[in-house]
């Protein structure tokens, strides 16, 4: 019973704080909403799936990002992806972690925040036993260019729903093999935002 009361109170406080902010900032700018404005900082951590069309394999990642809104339409964003494994027992990849940095252009409308963006990245990639021709395969640092697309939906003042897609364009170049590491990634979940 006590847990239910605490949960109800937490919900009511959050709801009232959110409404109070909407009343305080009804229309800062025509396209600016109570949630999407200069200074907004958001961050996420979730799982992502990836599909490599050349190798025809699906990969699983832990992914996170941090994003700062320079104004309601421009944001700067850094992302990281930690490679767990290929889901279909494929031995192509042993590691395929990556880091990204870039900017996104937003189309905010009330609580809905669609965006497109472009990031450059670096993949830390090591091939698996399928390509290993030495006692240990080489770890290669491969540059990536990565367009992103998605949306955020801000329902509360400190968290939001997000859907994100990215397409990595790059090549793995090592003494073991040369191959494209183009990949379509998809992730969704809940993120936190600080206003």
């Amino acid at each position: 019973m006590a847990k239910k009361i605490i949960l109800l109170l937490a919900f009511l406080i959050g709801y009232n704080y959110s409404n109070a902010r909407q009343l305080k900032y009804p229309n800062i700018f025509p396209e600016e909403t109570p949630f999407i404005h200069k200074g907004l900082l958001r961050t996420t951590l979730t799982f992502a799936t990836g599909y490599m069309p050349k190798q025809k394999i699906n990969n699983l990642y832990l992914t996170g990002n941090i994003e700062y809104y320079a104004d309601s339409k421009i944001s700067f964003r850094g992302d990281g992806m930690y490679f767990f494994n290929s889901m279909n027992q494929d031995k192509t990849l042993k590691q395929n972690h990556s880091l990204y940095g870039g900017a996104a252009w937003h189309f905010p409308k009330k609580n809905f925040d669609a965006f497109v963006g472009l990031q450059t990245g670096l993949a830390i990639c090591q091939l698996g036993t399928l390509y290993q021709n030495a006692p240990k395969s080489e770890i290669a640092y491969n540059p990536l260019v990565s367009p992103i697309l998605g949306f955020n939906f801000y329902a509360q003042n400190w968290f939001h729903l997000f859907v994100n897609a990215r397409y990595n364009i790059g090549n793995h170049l090592s003494a073991d093999a040369i191959m494209p590491i183009n990949e379509l990634n998809f992730s969704f979940g809940l993120g936190f935002n600080i206003n």
Binding site: A70, I74, A103, P143, V145, L173
Partner: protein, 211 residues
């Protein structure tokens, strides 16, 4: 020093000289931070390379800016080997328009500068590798497009001419078999490549002026 290198140096001196005379107190000190992606054309065996990097700009005057960059590029040489390049250097930008960096307008510029670079070429078949450190000069043209007052997208095309030891690779056909060969010469050659850079930049403020 050959004719091409003399031309590079002359243009670099011209642009730096212009910078001194074109200084303006109002714009001087603006600091831009950005990320960039560079494509390299006409490098080894005709294979294009691509890479990533970062840069910052410190504006010296109304029509003069400086750019400080680092790039990491890789090239797949027709699946026979690869090349890795690292560049770190600077450039001076001279704006052709009298009122550059205006909202929703292009700002074309001349650009020239210098960088230090590291190159490594690897051949898959015989596991042969060669590398070299050198410096290079680069020169070209480009433009900014200001999407907002503080955010710009820039496109630059430059020719980079290496001043150190000559390192290049080429493909030899032995019947139906293609072989990648590396050549390294101690003397400086005319080795160079065309670099096309796309960058996203944000003006973070003025380094030595308060609003």
């Amino acid at each position: 020093m050959n004719q091409l290198q003399k031309t590079f140096l002359f243009l670099a001196i011209f642009i730096v000289n212009s910078a001194v005379f074109a200084q303006s107190k109002n714009e001087s000190g603006q600091f831009f931070l950005g990320v960039r992606s560079t494509s390299s054309l006409f490098t080894d065996a005709g294979s294009p390379g691509s890479g990533i990097g970062g840069q910052f700009r410190i504006r010296m005057g109304k029509r003069v800016n400086t750019e400080w960059f680092a790039d990491y590029l890789t090239t797949n040489i027709q699946n026979l080997g690869y090349r890795r390049d690292g560049h770190i250097g600077w450039s001076v930008l001279f704006y052709l328009s009298k009122e550059p960096l205006q909202l929703k307008k292009i700002s074309p510029f001349l650009i020239a500068g210098h960088c230090f670079d590291y190159t490594k070429v690897y051949v898959l078949a015989d596991k042969k590798t060669e590398d070299r450190w050198s410096s290079a000069v680069q020169m070209g043209i480009g433009t900014h497009y200001n999407v907002t007052e503080k955010f710009d997208i820039s496109l630059t095309t430059q020719y980079m001419n290496h001043l150190g030891a000559d390192l290049h690779s080429h493909i030899e056909k032995n019947g139906d078999v293609k072989e990648l060969k590396i050549e390294k010469h101690g003397s400086a050659g005319l080795e160079g490549h065309l670099l096309i850079t796309l960058s996203l930049n944000y003006n973070l403020g003025n380094l030595w002026r308060k609003k």
